[in-house]
Every structure is written in structure tokens, then in C-alpha cells.
Assembly symmetry: D3
Homo-oligomer: 296 residues x 6
């Protein structure tokens, strides 16, 4: 659902629930300091400012956070999500009752620092892929409770989302296949069994570790094939044998995965795989340093 | 509230709510892959294993997560939270219907990897303080929605918790004091105003940037004084002037803060401050590498 | 999530939430009649019985409903979902405190009557398709709040689920395409624009009304093509031109839709389309007549 | 609670909860199609139109549904609930951002189609009673989760609501009475026991199958007597013996029930019973055909 | 819904929600004292003891409260609700982990003290009515959030419940009637208008201040007539004129209300009214003194 | 969180949740009387009026309650919380649709009567302390679900809040200390064990029954010492020995507790204790008599 002030493509009810949860967690039964020390009617103004350069994400959350604390606060967003901004850049300016500003500050910064950290890291990976058709994917290795937000930040940083959860695509991983093997099913049989059980709107991905299995998966109609922890030459061979001269985007799509770093990323991409997935984008996030400066 | 299988000191209703949220986020309307591919009655067993050394946190969550997905799963915890374990250590063994095991795997790993990452980093900081009375504190720079869990992981790693939120202690920060200064109140007046407004169970901390303000805060009865971004010699002087030969723990307590790293931590502690707070413990978490190995 | 007594493939938290909602709706602040008239410790037994023949769906919900009202009730399921049972068949036998049995009766019957009504109607459509590879699909025309249950009942009746909602597949309908046309995009451009914006796990369906658009959609890489309200010969032509002798399941999949009835269903299927979707399965449900008989 | 734009007599919090649930169910983590294909700022307009004649119900929900998805959408209601409108009638006109319009369309139609189906069927039954004092009642055989809405639609169609649930009136049904008989209580004793246990604001209805029991119930002070599955002459006799020439509405009220159809309804009403209850009004709902037409 | 250990006639989901809310309110993010000071595995035992005589209410809540905090606690109830017990009486004995016992103590006492206070006061009023057919009623003047519990305590004390809320009976009060009078409706017209609008399961009460209005209400078919703040002789006259020698319980029922105290109660009852309602039962509750004694 | 119309220092989300709960409890599925009898568009005006003198609390809740029922109602607050007003004083004037006014009346009065009852009683206690530095404290003996509101009313009446719950301060009570004694810890050891386990923002209170234990607690660094049920001379001696001539507010703070009444309060205060806590403020509340008067 859409909020008038938001251009973020996460439904409103999810945005509000996550922010309310964070505010309840921090404010609890009340902000003791502000209540005790700050007269209720004093007006003020503050800026949210980058303390280091980075790709900003989460700006559309700021009006929601501040007005949820005090509906009289005015939030002017000065930068759009996805901007690669220098240190010192002002993201947003908030004005109104100082008490609400002080109460909301930490939650606001926690959100935008975390999401900007993800967008900035994603953008660094994406930059490495420049000029190649290969696209960067995230994973389900996200912080519990924040997946929609973290995957949004990946999009903001230029990445592409893999499935959101267990419910919107099939992925036959090594453990599934090992189990089905004990029941006498090879990769092709596993794909066919699965295809028969799901509806026509569901894509099926299969994780393979050998060239032979990649062929079996492709022949059985897998939409995506995950090449797990393979050396680049092996990936290149699979790309060649399965895709030949096909246009980018032709099925089956090939995804590389497994411990790929900023250093190894380009070499993997040059094998011709369609996608590379990187867990570190969301499971090991360094917050971008962002603070609040008050107008004197 | 206490769960029979948990030794974690977070109330049960918070534990269950956070896990339910994470499961709903990942599973949504159902695990397509497991439903389509895995026969419902197959039994299996798997281990949760450290892929790198670290301090483990979150093990008591595992039985809750797995049995919430399938109440027939058996979870045997093999390591207690706080253990500094080597790569290869088995944290827990789960057995029962394979379908539930597969469905719960990712959420279980996401929790324990995130919390163990925090505990491991905390333990690295705590190790630097060895032999000194100074204690390591966390901050409110936590991931939205996970504060109670992240602060638990800090305790597991040997750290001490600063306040949980705005509701359980007063902290007059630079912005509060600047505002009160415009109303004619110095640090001492601010502390007295605040003390008068809160009940007798509330501690008051004051952030100061000068030696003079530290004295004003102490004289006005501040319980804690935050020395923000001061050079160590200045901290040492404040410790000397305010605490003299007082026993550790004597009020006012002194806390150092501001960009302190593993490299600078010991020098700051040697100034004699009672506490050092470090935001990176929770705002920039690298997941500990933990995986699931299936028994063949 | 899996409940020990349930073989229904809807996550436990969804099942419990829907049942709790129904019980709260009916019981409110208490069952006045039972409280006033029925002594609390009387034991009894009752059967849930088909009053007309049909395909049963929802039996795994019965233990959840009755034990949520009184945990001492014993529920023995005697028929599995999907059984085409005659009038008089006993679905389940419940025994225990009569008070709880009486309080839960109506909610239990409301669920199983509604879902069995859907399964029975679905099975009638599926029977018409016998011997053909074409599969029957449901739609998003479901009763608000019950989609997961109604789509489950469609599966029980032998149907296949189309997408669950707006979140797990793309469907470019006439209105989307008309709008994009005003921006200068034909069907092929619309598909390409969409493909570029979504991740690799998302299938894209396109609704077309002409043979030319079907070709454009197929060339642009649509995974499914919805043939809306076409005369069967036109469908047959599209099947021939797009699929030729391809094996069933080959992309693009073709789906027929639009006012198809039990009478017209087979003729449509014989055109060779892969799927036929029918809204009436869930938007116009006649409850199967099911009652409760008490043991004297 | 009252919503400024609603004339529906269901409390606001129930309306919003049901709509939010339906939107979450359909939209989930986001409308992939609209997000991917439709530019966010395009404006448009659409009409909600009857595709067949019927009695409209649920129009006051439309502004709530559309503005919950996008608060910028304008909804102009053109028909009030209860109108018996012809095919082609425009119920409401919505204008604003096309993206929100597309996202909300299905949920809006699902609600108004379902409720209008109930109102239309109810009106058909009510029409048969024209000129007679007998009133048409609904039952508790409603779709789980939607009772308040379905009973509202019955009122819109001209029907009268029986009790809302187990909490707002007593109804001693055959099973209650059979059980109490085993404890030595006849119908009169059962009514007296119940009357003694409930407060003075509670009406008591008793289901009877014989003329003798009807007399016992009346003498013991039952407010309503349910004549279950009786032949019309028997009902007529009971009406005569219990009510004589009493004015309509005199206690005890008499209600006929049990498999009454459009064909048999008038004959039952002519026996002089005060009320006739019909389960099919809510347990077997055919959606009224309603669609959305876009303005080109 | 029924909980195995409870004989309280409030549905389980309401009981659990109220207790969970109270525990969350008191425990919040954890019981600091118990966590810090009490070793987790120490076992103990304590009694819940009356410190003054009174009628006990809320005992069935104790097992729910204590086991929600720690499922290992054993609660033995020693007195049933409604017992008029002397000072020193032991209500329940709890044994198990001391930590959970200490954490749950205050919430447990708060519930049972509050409800026993209501039951005790109610019993004092009921005792005054001994030998008379008149029954004591409560009102809607209850503590926000606890109505079902407070009305339960009234029943435990021997009182009878008036309507639970605005949803389960009609009551035309002075303000409704004054407004309808401005529209030209007298009491009889108001009753008829209302009767026509509600279903047959709804009782209608009318508040009157004159004998003439009592007659109008009775003639129009009011089920109950509230005699507000009338002198006893006037009540006696109305009883005589409306009820004559009718058996107790004959409609219309007469209810006296308005500032009736323990001192004036019997005189009012002797006028022959059927019911007397007393707001003080729930709006001005003195807790019964109940404490916890530890076994040494 | 702050609501534009509220000056109450309880976060908005807590205010709205409590009011919504109360409205749902009273209104349920709808206000039958208003719906049936009152035409929807009639406008009116009413005053909320004190029927006896007292200290008013809860006025800022009134706009929230009335507008939650009907957003068109206008609420003008005429008295601020904390005013000691005479009988007849008008607290607030509400105008708008009469239907909403009637529906919301009871919940509005229930809140403001309950909170004003607490504020009035608190003010009576506080008046007794006039001229002395001793301050009045509340306890955790509050009505389940309303603690934040009841403690707010205590503040309004001039009292000071003790801890909000188990989560924001440590209190070692007799039971904790008795248990620790069995483990060989005296009061001093208990305090030190606890201090070591909690963070620096947590105050520790210790309950003592002897002068010796008071000294032990003070020496071990307790911030507060609770003198339980001591005769005033004994309290005076402890004050003298522990505080001497120290300025008010010097640690350790001394709190008297245990059956202190309006009659004994001043004598206890004159012993020089810093705080006196009184459970009756919240556990035995007599509602202030407040009603609604309609404008004719």
C-alpha cells in the first residue's frame, strides 16, 4: 500500500509495522529524558547528514518515523534513495517540536544507517560488473524481521532480488536433491516431480555441482540452474554447453554462488553466467555513518 | 516469561514474537519446494556446525524455531551460549521429519549467525580489557526490531548493557543540553531539573565535553557522566579529580565513548573510566559463518 | 509451520489465526446457552456426517478447531481430504465434554462445508478434463480472508493453483497493457520492460486478445500467455503456431480464461491449451451439506 | 466506530481489520506487476460497473479499500447500498494514480461482489414475502471471518438478523434439549434452568419439534420458539394455539426453519409464523458479476 | 474457549490475552531483579493467602498466570471461586523454580485481589436481599479492558449481569428519549421504532422517570423498564400497576437504579422490582488484601 | 509518540491501544441502540461535568476516544489535567453527530472517572505532606492493563512514580533476600551480587527490616533502601545514622512503606525519609463522579 510521502515500493502496512515495532522497542513506556528535561512547546530544526560518502537508502522512511512520533514534525527529504552522496550531504531536514525530534532521532538513524550500509556495499559489487550483462543477486541470509527492507536496499544499490522467501519460487538445493537421490530420483526426476506439483506461475531453480547435473536439470526444464562453488572454467563450460549463443535472459538462467568476493566477482561474471548471488550484502552489514546536526 | 527449553533471559513472549515474525517472513504462505518435492514422512538428522571459530550465541532459540515449524522435531543443544568454540564444533543436532528441518533451516541459521557475530566481536573487545576493572558497554545503535536479542548477545560475549531504551534511564546528551542552555540552564541546572522530574529509581547520565561540565554534573548529582570523544589524558584528569581513590563502582560512574576501536580501547580503559561504550558491537555486525550438515 | 495433527499444507500460523478469528467471531464473550444450560462435566460423542455426496476438504482443521475450544476433546478423523464420499459418510468422530462440542460445532461445520463445497465443484470440472493433459486453474476471485484455504480446497479437488496473490508472479492484464500502449509500448515492449525489472525467480504472464499479440508476447519471452475469451478455433490456432509439437509443459504455457462453464470446458481443453482458469470455483461456492449427529 | 466516508453500520475497527487482512492476503510483499510495469505518477480513472442486475451491497467499503492502498485515490460512490440496479449501472468512480487503482482492484471487487450476491439473494426471498408480516432471518451459517459483513448484506437486502453469535442470545437446540432430557429435564424445565442463569437482557429461543413442546416452551417463558422442519399445517396449528389473535410481535415469537426454499417460502409464511430463517442466504453465495471499466 | 485447568466461564482467548497484557506490562524486557540475583535452578514453594476475610474470585486464573511465566511451576488451587473465606485461608499453593514464582507474584496478586474485592462487595449487597426475589445487577461502569473479568466477579459474588456492552441488548436512556422527543416521538413511539429495527433475539430496555412513561413503555412492548432515581413509593406503585400479581420474571421486568447504597438497598427491593443495578460494584473497587507467604 | 491533541506523556501507541481495547469491549459488533433509534445525521452537543469536586485526570484522552468513534466529533477541553475543580465544573464540550456521542459516552466517562479518582486520592495524600521534602510514591499494585495510565494519574495528583515494572529498576525484597540468605549471602553480599550483574543505568533498592540491614545495604551501595513496616522512631534513627545532615536527594534514598494511611502519613514523613509509598493510590480506586449533560 502506498503512503502519500513514500516512494518506497514496500507496502505501507509492512512499513508501518516495522517502524512501530522499532519505536515501541526504543521508546517503551516513554522517553524519560525528553519528558523530564525538554519543555513541550519548543520548536527546532535539525539535519540528517552523511558523515562518510555512500549510497543512501531509506529516506522515504524518515517522514513516517518522525510523524509517527509527533504528527506536527515536518520532514523535507533532500536526497532520493540511490544517490551516491559525499560526506556532509544533507539527506533530510526536520523541523517542529524539539521533543519529538529528540525522541525519534535514534530509530530514524538506525534505519537509514543500516539500509544505506547495504545499498553502499551493493553498489560496490555492482560497480565491478560494469559493462557486463551479469546481474548481482541477494540471498535469504537477511536479518530476521527486516528482509523486505534489506532487499529493498539491495535494489536501491543496483542489485536484483532473488526470491523473497520459501513461498515465491522453488529452489532444489543440495539437501533436497540428496534426499531425493536416496529415493531413487536423479536431478531430472526431481525437477519433473516438482514441476508436476506446482502451478504454472512458479519458477524452479536447481543447485548443481557437476556439469552432468546441469545438463539433467536443463533437460528437465529447470528455469534457473545454480552453479555452486564451481571454478570459473567449469562455469564457462556449462554456459557454453547450455546456452551457446543464446540471447541474454534465455532459459535456463545460470546463477553462480558461493563465497564470491569483490576480488573474484568480475572473473566469475566473465564466465557468462546470468546472475551472481552474494550473501554478504545482507548478512554482514556495516552501517553507513549518518548523524543528526542541530541548527543553532 | 520462561520457556522450558530456554536458558535465555529474554521473556518468552518476546522470543516467540520475534521468531514467529521471522518464520512468517521466510515461509509466507508455505515452503513451495519442500511441499512439492519432499515426501512428508521421511525422517532425518542434521547438525548445526561452526564453519569458523567464534563465541556462540542464540543456541537456546534453536529448539523454539524448529519446534515452531514442526513440533515433532527434536533439538539437542550441544554447546551453551558464550562458548568460544573452534571451527567444526557442532552447536546442536536436530532430528525428525526432514520437511520441517528444511523449512526451518534458514531462519535458524540467520538468528544464530547474527547473534554469534555480535558475541564474537564483543568478546574480542572484552579480551582487550583483561585485567582492568573497566567494562564494555553497548549502545542503542541496534538493528530495528532486534534490540533485546542483540543486547543479549553482547552479554553473552562478556559485555554489559547500557540502557535498553529511552524508557529505563535518563541521558542528557549534547542536544538536550544545548537546548536547555538556550533557556539559561547550565549542566548543573539541567541535572537538577531532570532529577526533580523523575522518580527515585531512575539513574541520570550526562554527556560532557569539558572538565568544567564534568564537575558541574557531578556536583548536581549525576549518576553517570559520559565523556564524549575526549583525548585520554583529559579523561584521566577527570577520573582523578572526580573519583580520586574511590573504590570502583563509586558514583558518579564515568563512561568513555566516541569512535573507540580495538586499537584504542586499552589506552582509554587505562585512564580509569568505569565503562567504555562501543556502537560497532551492534550496528555493524558480521555474521559468524555457521551451516547445517546433514547426516547421510 | 506444521501441526502434529495436520496434513494440510498451509503453515500452522495461518491455520490457527483463521480458526481463532472464526471462533472469536462466533463465541465472542462466551457461549451463553452452553454456560447456562449444560453442566460442565458431562461427556458425549458426536459424528460429523455428510448429508449429501461430495469431495471432502478441511478434515485436518477439525482437531484444531475442537481442541482450541476445549483441549480435552478427542477428534478422530475418519476420512482424508480429497475423498469422494457418499451421503452418510462419517468424516470425523469427536468425544469429550459436551459443552465444548456444542460450542465448537457451528464453526467446525462452517469451515468444512465451505471447503468441501469448493473441492466438490472443482472435482466436477476436473472430471470433465479426464484423459486430456489440460489442467484446471483457480483465480484470485476468492472470499476475502480465506484465500489460502480456498486454494487448498481447489488442490484437494484436483485443481492447480494459479498465483496466490500480486506478490508471487507477474500478470500483465488488459488494463496494464492498455496503459503501456498509451506510453508507446506494444506487448513485446511491455514484457521486456517488466522482465528487466523483476528478479530471475519471477514468471511473467501476459493476457492477449489477438493472435498477433500472442506472438509478440511469446517472442518477448513471456512464460505464460492468457488467451482471454477467445473462440476455441482461435485458441487452437495459437496453440498450433506457438507450440507446434512441443511436449506438454514447454514454454510459453497457454492458459484459457473467461466464462468457461462445465458445458464448454472440454471443448476449450481440446484446443490444446495447457491450462484453463475458472473463477466460479471460489467466487460462487455452494456449501456441501454436512451436519453433526449425536450418539444417544 | 464511525468512518467519515462510511454509512455502513459495522464498527470502523472491524471494517479496517477485515480490509487490511484482505489486502495483505492479496498484495503480500508487494504488487510485482504494477511495480515493474506501471510508472508511479500516471493518473487515471475507472468505474466499478454491474455486469448483471442485482441489489448492491458494500459500496461504503470502496473508499476504505482504495485509500488504504493509496491515500491519494478519490472514490466517488454513485449508488447507495440496497439499490436494485440494472446491468451497466456504475457503482463508484475512482480516480488518481493508476498504480494504486490496479493494485486495489481485485480486493475491492471481491468484497462488493460477495456482499452484493448476498443482498441480491436476500432480496429475492424478501420479495416473496411481500404483503405478509413475516420477516426473513439469516443464520450462523456464514463464511468464517466475514459474519458481520454477511449479516450486514442480509440487512441491505431487506432481511433481519438472527443472533450474531453464541454470545448475544440463548438458543436451546435439539442437542441441548436431548442432553437435558437425559438429566430428567423436559423443555419447560430446561427453559427455567436457563432463564435462572442468564441476565434480564437475554432472550431465550427454544427449538421444538412437537406441538406439546411448543406449549411447554411458551409456558416456561421462552421468548422465541423455533419450529424446526415442521409441515405448514402443524405450524399453523401452533400459531393458532399460542398466539390466537395477538398482535404481530407479541411474545412468544415463532420462527420457522429447515430447508425452506424460494418455492416453499410463501406457504410457510402464510401459516402466520413471525420469522423464517434461511441458511442459504449466507452459506451458498453466488457472487454478483461486477467489474472495473477503465476510462480511455 | 476452555482451558484444561480453568473452570472460569470466560473464553480462553480472552483470558490469555488479558494475562499476557498484564505480564508484558509488568515484566517488559525482563525481571532485572530475579535475573540478577536469583540462581535459575532453585526450587521453592509459596502460598497465596487471604490477609482479610472475603469472597474469593480469580483462582482459576492463577495456574494460567504462573505457567505462562514458567511452564514448570505447579499450581494447586485450594479454594473455589465464590468461597467466603476467613483471613488466613490459603487460596493456592505454587511450587517450582523460585525465579518464576517471584516474577509472576505481583500480576497474580493484582488479578485475584481486584476480582475478590468485587466479589466480596457484591456478596455484601446480595446478602441484604436475602429472602427477596429481587436480584442484584451490575452496570457498564467497569474498568477499561477488564469488563468480562469484573462481570465474572460479580457473578461469583452472587450478582447477575446486565448487558455486556452496547452490542447485546438495547437500552433507550434519557438522552436517547430526549432526542427522539425533539423528533416528535414519545416513549411508546421510540420503543416501536427500535423494535422494528432490531432482530427477534434482542431485548429492549427503556429508562423512565414517570409513571406515565412506564405505562407507555410497557404498552409498546419494552422487555425491561428502568426506574431511574425514583422514590420507593413511586416504584411500588409502578410495580403494582404494571405487574399486579404476576409471577416473578413476567415481562416487563422492572429494574431500579440510581445511587442505591447498602443502606437503601432492601427498601428498594421491597417495592417489588425485579432487579436493582449498582454501579459501585465495579467502578469503585477496594482490593481484597491477599499476599504471598513463602515456605521456609 | 505524540498525538497532536494530547499533552499526556504516555506514548501514542499505548494510548490508542488502550482506548481501542475499551471501545471494542463496549461496542463489540455495534451499538444496537444508537443504530436502531438515532437518525445518523442529527447534530448535538454535550458537556462532561464533575458531579463532585476533585482533581481531574484523563482530559487529553477525550478527543482520542470521541474521534476514534466518529472522526467528525469536535472535542473542546476546558480544564487541564491536575486542576482541582469544584462540583459542576465542565471538563470538556463535545459537539457533532449525536450517534457517535452516545456510543462513546460510557468509555469516555469510565476512563476519566477512574483516573480522576486516582488523582484526587493522590492529591489528598500529597496535601498532608505539605511543607515537608518527603515525596509520595505509588507501587506496582495497579489494575492489570492500566498501569501506565494509573501511574500517570498519580503524577497528575502530585505523586511521584516508583519503578514502572520489573524491567526498569532492581528491588531486592524480603523474599529475594531470604532466599539469598539460605545461600549464605547477607544483605551486603546480595547487593554486591546484583550490582555486578546489572548495567550502570540501573538503580538498586533493598528492602530492610532492621537497622543493621539498613547499614549493610548502604555500605554495599544500594541506591534506595525500603524501610518496611517500621515504627517511626526506628525510621528516624536510620535516617539520622545514614543521612545525617546530607542534603535532600543524597544517596541512599530512604523509602517508607507498609500500611501507611492518611492519618499516619505525616508522622512517617517527619522521620525524614525521602519517599513514602502507598499502594491504596492505585489498588483501591473510587471513581470520581463525572457525568455527561446534554444541551437542550
Amino acid at each position: 500500500m502506498h503512503h502519500q510521502q513514500m516512494s518506497i515500493d514496500i507496502p505501507d502496512h509492512m512499513v508501518h509495522a516495522a517502524i512501530l515495532r522499532a519505536l515501541e522497542e526504543d521508546i517503551g513506556r516513554g522517553d524519560l529524558t525528553t519528558t523530564a528535561a525538554i519543555p513541550p512547546d519548543i520548536q527546532g530544526q535539525a539535519d540528517i547528514v552523511l558523515r562518510e560518502p555512500g549510497v543512501v537508502a531509506g529516506v522515504p522512511l524518515l517522514p513516517v518515523i518522525f510523524t509517527m512520533v509527533d504528527s506536527r514534525l515536518q520532514v523535507e527529504s533532500l536526497i532520493t534513495d540511490g544517490t551516491n552522496a559525499p560526506a556532509g550531504a544533507v539527506i533530510a531536514r526536520i523541523s517542529g517540536p524539539v521533543s519529538g525530534l529528540l525522541t525519534a532521532e535514534r530509530v530514524a538513524l538506525n534505519f537509514v544507517q543500516h539500509l544505506s550500509g547495504i545499498a553502499t556495499l551493493t553498489a560496490q559489487y555492482v560497480a565491478v560488473l560494469q559493462g557486463l550483462p551479469t546481474r548481482l543477486l541477494d540471498t535469504r541470509k537477511t536479518t530476521p524481521g527486516l528482509r523486505a527492507f534489506e532487499k529493498y536496499a539491495v535494489r536501491v544499490g543496483g542489485g536484483t532480488n532473488h526470491r523473497m522467501g520459501l513461498y515465491d519460487a522453488v529452489m532444489l538445493k543440495d539437501n533436497h536433491l540428496a534426499l531425493l537421490a536416496t529415493l531413487g530420483m536423479d536431478v531430472a526426476a526431481a525437477v519433473r516431480r516438482t514441476r508436476n506439483a506446482v502451478g504454472p506461475t512458479v519458477r524452479i531453480e536447481v543447485e548443481v555441482e557437476t556439469i552432468a547435473d546441469a545438463h539433467l536439470a536443463a533437460q528437465a526444464g529447470a528455469d534457473l540452474i545454480l552453479l555452486d562453488n564451481m571454478p570459473p572454467p567449469m562455469m564457462r563450460q556449462i554456459v557454453h554447453e547450455l546456452k551457446g549463443d543464446a540471447a541474454p535472459g534465455t532459459l535456463p538462467l545460470l546463477e553462480a554462488s558461493g563465497g564470491i568476493t569483490l576480488e573474484t566477482l568480475r572473473a566469475v561474471a566473465e564466465t557468462g553466467v546470468d546472475y551472481i548471488s552474494v550473501g554478504v550484502l545482507t548478512h554482514s552489514v556495516r552501517s553507513l555513518d549518518i548523524g543528526m546536526d542541530w541548527h543553532s
